[in-house]
């Protein structure tokens, strides 16, 4: 057996030699029965390998797999909205927030006789801040908004839990969805803050209290729906 030739036989068999090398090997094989026999053996080895059976495991492994995928949840899938859906959601929330801000600003401005409603419409938060700053500090420190049912510890705990759930499951949402949800939460938070500040100037205003409750309910609802999206396929 000539190793310098047999070393090339696998590549010859797999048709991976250059035409020149192939010709040289074939020329050698014609005159060397020993190397030709090696080639026959290697051919048999390859044929046997290609005919190997595929046998299933002796025991059914499915139950173990099923238990593990149930424990870890369903196949993670990315949940996404269509662009029109996202755009519509954003428009509704922005409009709602702007509407609330405008109404807060309008009422607060009338009560304190400050003509800042235009500014409040276009930049609501700065309008409220400006109004709040004009109130005596003693009055602000005594503001009680405890009667707002969504301002309790239970609400804060629920929001905190949902925020954690959303944070843990955010990898299941696509980036656009995450961005929209976060943007909308930001808008609602801004509305909540605006209502809170407006109540500081007018704590007895039921209208403002109602809007604060509504904004907080809206936040809870959005968080619930966003968190549900992350676990929808579980």
């Amino acid at each position: 057996m000539h190793e310098e030739w047999t070393d090339k036989l696998s590549e010859y068999l797999d048709d991976e030699l250059s035409p020149r090398e192939r010709q040289a090997v074939e020329s050698h094989l014609r005159g060397c029965a020993e190397c030709a026999a090696v080639l026959d053996d290697l051919t048999r080895v390859v044929e046997r390998a290609q005919r190997l059976d595929r046998r299933p495991p002796r025991a059914d492994l499915w139950d173990g797999i099923a238990a593990r995928i149930e424990t870890r949840g369903a196949a993670p899938r990315r949940v996404s909205f269509t662009l029109p859906q996202l755009a519509a959601a954003a428009v509704v929330l922005i409009a709602a927030s702007a509407g609330i801000a405008w109404q807060f600003a309008d009422r607060a401005a009338s009560r304190s006789d400050i003509a800042r409603s235009t500014e409040a419409q276009s930049r609501a938060s700065s309008g409220y801040e400006a109004l709040a700053e004009r109130e005596p500090s003693a009055e602000r420190s005594n503001i009680d908004i405890a009667h707002v049912s969504f301002a309790d510890a239970q609400y804060d705990a629920a929001v905190s839990d949902l925020e954690k759930a959303l944070q843990n499951g955010r990898r299941r949402l696509d980036k656009t969805t995450i961005a929209i949800v976060e943007h909308n939460l930001q808008i609602i938070d801004q509305a909540i803050e605006q209502a809170r500040q407006a109540l500081e100037t007018d704590p007895a205003n039921d209208y403002l209290s109602g809007h604060l409750v509504e904004a907080r309910r809206r936040k809870l609802d959005l968080l619930r729906r966003a968190a549900a999206l992350t676990t929808e396929s579980d």
Binding site: L9, S10, R44, A49, R54, P57, G64
Partner: protein, 181 residues
């Protein structure tokens, strides 16, 4: 093609892949039953009978977790098999088998014990594969049994194409010797 609610209705495996990607465990079980023989045979030969069950389960759990990433650029069977090979290679590396895989050892051609011929030639052939040195066995299984090309094997194993070719020839020569023994 990304899997989504708008994915057109398909048949057989493709349908089950689409359903499983949406969380349908029954569809995933059908995929498991269709492919388990091939995956288990791969793990049994590349690793050992003792590890094959556990690693096969790992592969299917990993498949379930990654189904949303399957984009249909290749056949599901091809994608699954490649994932399985990656898991197996990862497992081999974990056990540091990989470290000695490509060590040059020409004497091994003479050291492989020749098993006495058995009545069941298939079992005998399988047994002979199991006796190959780890590196040669890995390449032999991937190339001659599973049908991968040297350039694919080189990428999977992180070696040069020439190394893959040398290991394959080494494995075939050992198998020849074993069968002729």
């Amino acid at each position: 093609m990304a899997l989504s609610a708008d994915t057109p209705i398909q048949t057989g495996i493709e349908t089950d892949v689409a359903l499983a990607a949406r969380g349908d465990a029954s569809a995933f079980e059908r995929l498991y039953r269709t492919h388990v023989a091939r995956i288990h045979s791969l793990t049994r030969r590349m690793l050992s009978s003792d590890e094959a069950d556990e690693v096969t389960q790992d592969i299917f759990v990993r498949t379930w977790q990654k189904l949303s990433q399957f984009r249909g650029d290749s056949a599901f069977t091809t994608w699954l098999h490649r994932l399985a090979v990656n898991v197996v290679i990862e497992r081999r590396r974990t056990f540091a088998i990989q470290r000695e895989r490509m060590a040059p050892d020409p004497a091994v051609l003479d050291s492989l014990p020749v098993a006495p011929p058995r009545a069941d030639l298939k079992v005998d052939f399988e047994h002979a594969i199991g006796q190959l040195p780890p590196g040669a066995r890995e390449v032999f299984l991937l190339h001659d049994v599973e049908g991968y090309k040297h350039r694919e094997i080189a990428v999977m194993l992180g070696v040069a194409t020439g190394t893959s070719k040398r290991q394959l020839h080494r494995a075939r020569m050992l198998m020849r010797k074993h069968l002729n023994g």
